[in-house]
Symmetry: C3
Subunit: 237 residues, 3 copies
Amino acid sequence: MRGVLCSRTDARLVDVAHDFPRQDVRAAAFWLREVLPTFPPAVHLVVVDPTVGTDRRPIVVVAGEHALVGPDNGVLLPAARALAGDADLACYEIPVEDPASATFHGRDVFAPAAADVHERGIDDVEEAYPTAPDPVDLTFPEATVDGAHARGEVLVVDGFGNVVTNVPGSFLTGRWGDRASVAGRGVPVERTYAAVDRGERLLTVGSHGNVELAVNQGRGDEAFGVEAGSPVEIDLA
Amino acid sequence: MRGVLCSRTDARLVDVAHDFPRQDVRAAAFWLREVLPTFPPAVHLVVVDPTVGTDRRPIVVVAGEHALVGPDNGVLLPAARALAGDADLACYEIPVEDPASATFHGRDVFAPAAADVHERGIDDVEEAYPTAPDPVDLTFPEATVDGAHARGEVLVVDGFGNVVTNVPGSFLTGRWGDRASVAGRGVPVERTYAAVDRGERLLTVGSHGNVELAVNQGRGDEAFGVEAGSPVEIDLA
Amino acid sequence: MRGVLCSRTDARLVDVAHDFPRQDVRAAAFWLREVLPTFPPAVHLVVVDPTVGTDRRPIVVVAGEHALVGPDNGVLLPAARALAGDADLACYEIPVEDPASATFHGRDVFAPAAADVHERGIDDVEEAYPTAPDPVDLTFPEATVDGAHARGEVLVVDGFGNVVTNVPGSFLTGRWGDRASVAGRGVPVERTYAAVDRGERLLTVGSHGNVELAVNQGRGDEAFGVEAGSPVEIDLA
């Protein structure tokens, strides 16, 4: 894909991430929503698709001054909303001449389209590409917070094993140093991993602003026995 | 190596791949032949050498508007032929002042040479470096295709476990949806991984144009029990 | 972090390494001391901190024409001394407005500071940041060499399993092809990995100039049963 991009544009290429969990659309959608808003206006090229090579439409989503190019499987929409601010999203379809010939959509479809969008400019996408009605969307469930009790689920496990939940970080505000109960077991609530001994479990708030189940210098997913989609119940004593 | 390059040239640096199987010259040669032709004219720096530090000559191969810098172990030649088109290849030797002092040829020999070739220009390589006669070559075996029967071998297994064979993709043309027999077991012939259920085996054609043994969202090498160099027999019923 | 950097500076971004052993400050400090001197003058952004999110001060170290931005845990100082040459080091503290809010210091503290140092210029750091007295330092132990006997320790194991010791490479000068004794077992002394058969152990000198315990195309740490910090005794027969 870098070869295709270098052949068609002098744009600055910046790698956002190589280490998304493979073929996990939800995890990628979550991280892109967290990470892309730190970038200046750009064309963001996203290839995360376990159904690569099917009839999944390739699309361009215009989100304010940003554009996202990738598969119509929901991976782009959460980040697009975060990038768009007050602007409306607009989705366009990328024409594919011979879909059957391509098993590597990244190289043959998405990278050429991203280069094209960059070269023509985001403002001209509307004229150049047909509208893509009803793009596949993907949203993240909301947690239920009732006083000192929260019920939610695991959104994603990061590469270090930290478990990101959908419980908002505000749930822990003012409770630093307290103990909580997760699935019936006591866990300290701490602002930093290092507040507990190496190998010990903790509840904290991650950089994404959500409650995280973690282990200092260890894997929270293994210690808490959860994975993406697992239900999470937290009681603050 | 990036430090050396940045110190000696303002050239745009583009990483082609970090994840070639370690010390596997054949796999690297195959992928470079697939990937480098997507790039615009450039100096390509290649360091894949299990015998690093030996008397293996460092060479520059001029291939049309491209140059390749790396060890004389065959890894450069297949890609060089693909890049050269109708142009002849020319090989030059990179002088090494004190071979014994370097255990990291990438940093001490290849990166300085790549920067030098870029700064002086590919056209001036001929004057600056001595000719390297008889470079080590490496070719990939041809498969035998006889009607509905193909006999070949595994060229390489990619990082996802997909098994790339030397059987040309045209062998499967018009047979989508049929069943083939691989080593006596039935396997569907499909255009896309997603045409079969998760975990199911299939025969398909990869982006390189060759027949591939794969598993949808799984590892084809494990399911078919093969590795690089294994013989492959395919019968179309 | 790349998003933050791209938003605040047009500086050329070069990845030095992604594959330092996680949360291993000593290993990172050692490799940075080896690698950074190959770079031209730059702002070097370093995030290796197992105690991330604690009261560990973020600092800027000015070392000649270079600046290093990272945590005050010793990881910066060995490289800073190597970069500074004869110049004195100067350490400054990076102000953090709300330390409690950040769990990802890389994105929220270090990347903005690195962009700021680059944009204002290294010469203006002194005026812009308060001095950081008594930064945490980290040094590597010296080996004892007595004729044909050396006693030292393992500094670090690289990603290939090669064991880097603190014994200076000069200890092996003139002994190529001899046999040494390491922990009572005979090992050949060779200039290159490939001088021994695949899977065989050897003593050699690495690109960093130190004696290395290695296995040709294998893992030296496993073959010699050592890890970072292990004592090493070598006798040249």
